[in-house]
């Protein structure tokens, strides 16, 4: 193992961090926006509303992300409808294919996370909101969702970390994010240990920062003042592991 080569590799691979973060953050944002309304449908008591969403989450959580990515990247172009529409300008590009696959996949997991949270909100709170005359939409967005989100924040944090790691699959459709750059670098230097260890170190730093950020958000939402939060944060982090 050559330490100098590792540091050198880290310097090169840092060039891929932007693309990794771009893919991760955009997929999480799109996944989040899709999953909030769908989680409410999924939590609904009516099977007509809940089952179609269940079918979606079941299929996307029951098949590998790699298959979903290849299905979109290689398969979409086979459909004349896609190839002859404006969408083709987007899905010719591996970046948008990866983004679509990651967003749909992330949405499926996030829906189930949020559904759990929505169902854990005590009905009394909803009844109280109804009693003071809030509209159903307002109840969902201002009462139920914020409470649900706080409850499931640790699970959502896991989903975020999972997305950072999953973004490495983008390297299989020619994108040069961290893993893609690492594979390219290995084929040039023939030093797989050093390069992949360097890539691992970068991912570790990213996932560590993400879980730390969510710990802070969790404490903030729990109403812990920042000066007191400093020590309990360390404790919490240990417990979370």
């Amino acid at each position: 193992m050559n330490i100098a080569l590792i540091t050198e590799s880290i310097a090169t691979l840092l060039g891929g961090v932007v693309l990794t973060l771009e893919l991760t953050i955009l997929s999480l944002l799109i996944g989040f926006v899709l999953s909030v309304p769908l989680a409410f449908l999924r939590a609904s008591r009516s099977p007509w509303l809940s089952w179609p969403v269940l079918a979606y989450t079941y299929v996307f959580r029951g098949t590998p992300l790699l298959v979903q990515l290849f299905l979109i990247y290689y398969g979409l172009g086979q459909l004349a409808v896609v190839r002859e529409s404006v969408l083709w300008l987007l899905f010719r590009d591996p970046f948008y294919c990866a983004l679509l696959a990651f967003s749909l996949n992330s949405a499926a997991y996030t829906i189930e996370v949020f559904r759990g949270g929505i169902q854990s909100v005590p009905p009394g709170l909803v009844e109280a909101a109804q009693a003071i005359g809030l509209s159903p939409t307002k109840i969902r967005l201002r009462i139920v969702f914020p409470l649900a989100f706080r409850t499931v924040l640790p699970s959502y944090a896991n989903e975020v970390v999972g997305m950072i790691k999953a973004s490495s699959l983008a390297s299989t459709v020619t994108l040069l994010e961290i893993t893609g750059l690492a594979r390219k670098l290995v084929s040039e230097t023939f030093a797989p240990y050093e390069v992949f260890v360097a890539a691992g170190a970068i991912y570790l730093a990213l996932t560590f920062l993400a879980s730390r950020l969510f710990n802070l958000i969790e404490l903030h939402l729990a109403g812990v003042p920042p000066d007191k939060a400093r020590r309990p944060w360390l404790l919490k982090l240990r417990q979370a592991r």
Binding site: V67, A166, T172, Y193, T207
Partner: protein, 219 residues
């Protein structure tokens, strides 16, 4: 699909085989890891902590690439001539390491969920520590750990598809080869999806049945 049905069947076998071997070894690693995390010895705890923190913070694909290409380089250096690690064993090794890290956390949590009184009671009626573990702790722990293990097993099944990137002839690899040679990616990747969905569905149903059998009184 031009004779690819049979190949898919063989791919299915490989996928299940790799997942089953990695899952079995991974359970052993998980038990050892949980024992280390709960051990009296600081050094063991630190090693186990480092193991789970590092492996769980790094993409599975990267672990596979490191083991496959790194293993080949190491063996070549060791033997003196070019030796390639088989994709199957590199994959099994990588997924064992990954599964083991998550299983460590699951088992540690499950063991900690068992009231201390259970251990004390077992020791007070004269069971040796190993009997306490085998007869009192493990059976109760298994019940608590089961739902999380089911999720982990399903992730493992899906993660086996990543080994196709280093050339394992699993379901995914057959789909890639078929999609290329028949120029019909849609059909082949949909077929692969269906096979994976079947595997995860069968797993879910099996775990449900086992769970109902054991019917944990907790939560």
């Amino acid at each position: 699909m031009g004779g690819f049905q049979e190949q898919f069947l063989r791919g299915l076998e490989t996928t299940v085989l790799v997942a089953a071997i990695s899952g079995a070894f991974g359970m052993l690693v998980g038990l050892a890891g949980a024992a280390a995390k709960l051990s009296r010895f600081r050094a063991l705890r630190m090693i186990a902590d480092a193991y789970t923190t590092i492996v769980r913070g790094v993409p599975e694909l990267l672990v596979i690439l490191l083991v496959y290409f790194g293993g080949t380089t190491a063996l070549t250096a060791l033997v003196g001539s070019y030796v390639e690690v088989s994709a199957l064993w590199a994959g099994v090794f990588s997924l064992t390491v990954v599964f083991g890290a998550y299983a460590t956390e699951i088992f540690r949590g499950a063991i900690q969920a068992i009231p201390r009184g259970q251990t004390e009671a077992a020791l007070s009626i004269g069971l040796a520590p190993w009997q306490t573990w085998l007869l009192v702790i493990l059976p109760q722990m298994a019940r608590i750990a089961l739902p999380a293990l089911c999720n982990l097993w399903i992730s493992l099944l899906k993660d086996t598809s990543l080994i196709s990137i280093v050339g394992l002839s699993d379901i995914m690899r057959i789909a890639v080869v078929g999609a290329g040679s028949m120029r019909d990616p849609l059909t082949f990747y949909l077929a692969a999806s269906a096979l994976y969905l079947m595997l995860t569905s069968v797993s879910l149903l099996t775990f449900r049945l086992v769970e109902r059998r054991l019917l944990a009184p907790v939560h």
